[in-house]
Amino acid sequence: MTAPAIEDLLRELTPRVLGALVRRQGQFEGCEDAVQEAVLAAAVQWPAEGVPDSPRGWLLTVASRRLIDQARSDRARRGRESATAAEVTPEDVPGTDDTLVLLFLCCHPTLTAASQIALTLRAVGGLTTAEIARAFLVPEATMAVRISRAKQRIKAAGSSFSLPEGAEREVRLRVVLHVLYLIFNEGYTASSGSELHRPDLAREAIRLARLVRAQLPEDSEVAGLLALMLLTHARRSVRTTAAGDLVPLAEQDRAQWDRGLIDEGTELTKASLAGPALGPYQLQAAIAATHADAATAEETNWPQVQALYLILERIAPNPMVTLNRAIALAETESPLAGLALLATLDADERMAGHHRLLSVRAHLLEKTGDRAGAYEHYRRAAKATASLAEQRYLESRASRVRTPLQPHADGLGERG
């Protein structure tokens, strides 16, 4: 078996081994460390010595031993001899899949999003602390602290290793989906420069979403989220140039979009929309599917996009949704109508000075022929963004609309 194949196998086995161990021994905290150590040992041994006949059994045995060693050294530290941990290798329990239980635990509501993400990637995704640290561009020690603190918080919250029930389950599932969405987005915006050394988070988020879908095939928002990821991921090869410059949707080479992913995402979207409930991920997937359906940017079904944003705005009000609807409105009605909708966001303090509001306004001003206004807003948006790639893009747009009479960069920030 090749090293990448072993890595995939280990990722797949991680949540199953961890689930079996926690079922047997309790104490998620210690089990998670033990499984991580077993996985690290396997990653070293298996490529050299071959994959054991029962990889899962091997991992369980090694993790159990680590857990026992841990318990012994803890007891030694406390100077007690009495307590006897269950020093038995847990039996393999085929047929049970605790992936969902683990996800609910890792996405515990008492944790910050950053901790939920880190813990999910480690305990369910099977990534090492070092890989997660690289993915988020922080030192490994920082990530290790974050993960261990997250586990302490879960322990302090007194969570049981079982699926939440009833309405609580629904609420917690939304958190899980949001965490997967954040992981996906982190991967989608990954810097091209450091991509070689960063794990592919978008791919990992899709894999995790597939795991959740396998457990909850009837949930239409799970299907919606997976569809949204697939449809977005389908554009990955052409959303930046080889030099790392951003290419807007309207200018992407659609022939290069991944048809396989689009077909799968579109089918999933259709099936989920046929279900009884309608949620934000399904609607975003439907919008992405509408874009995917247009052979050219000009053929985009903007009335449908605008209608979908309108429903999304009603069921999940958010200024970013309104912002996106303004772009659709500019296409279906007029740029002025889009600008009028944007004006309603000016009073929203979440959006004040936000680079997205400035850049969309610049884009719509450009469409009305107001080059001076567009120039000013592109420049202000470029100053407001923290993304170097976006900044380059916005600066290039500003240069494009600059009229010869315009001073280069003076007096910005005075108007608007």
């Binding site: 974050r146 923290a386 790639a389």
Partner: protein, 123 residues
């Protein structure tokens, strides 16, 4: 999100502090570093030597020249920094407010987000 919290110090203001105040300032930073390390938000922190020790390097016509610093003619100088990784700007500001310098007139605590290479365009 990563932020740089830069500490702008006025040496005259620092000199005017009493020994107790100086000790409290040092103790405040130590406690801040400990709390931030424990929360997993600290990436790194450094204090810089006095600006009188700075060297300004310039290259003209390919020839390097070194003169005594500091470069900026100012009463305040960069005294040190914290590089942190936290949830959002609000949290960064909340943390900055815990730095003892923030409570001392004449010392400046400035928060700026670190730029990242990637970006996205979706519409």
């Amino acid at each position: 999100m990563q932020f740089l919290i830069s500490l702008h110090v006025n040496p005259a203001v620092l000199d005017a502090l009493t020994d107790e105040e100086k000790a409290a300032l040092g103790g405040g930073h130590a406690a801040f570093i400990e709390a931030l390390t424990e929360s997993g938000e600290l990436l790194t922190t450094q204090a810089l030597v006095d600006p009188s020790q700075a060297a300004v390097v310039s290259v003209r016509n390919g020839q390097p020249a070194v003169t005594d610093g500091p470069f900026l003619e100012s009463k305040e100088y960069l005294g040190g920094f914290y590089l942190i990784d936290c949830e959002n700007k609000e949290r960064a500001i909340e943390l900055a407010a815990q730095i003892p310098d923030a409570a001392i007139e004449g010392l400046g605590v400035e928060v700026r987000q670190v730029m990242f290479a990637a970006g996205r365009l979706e519409a």
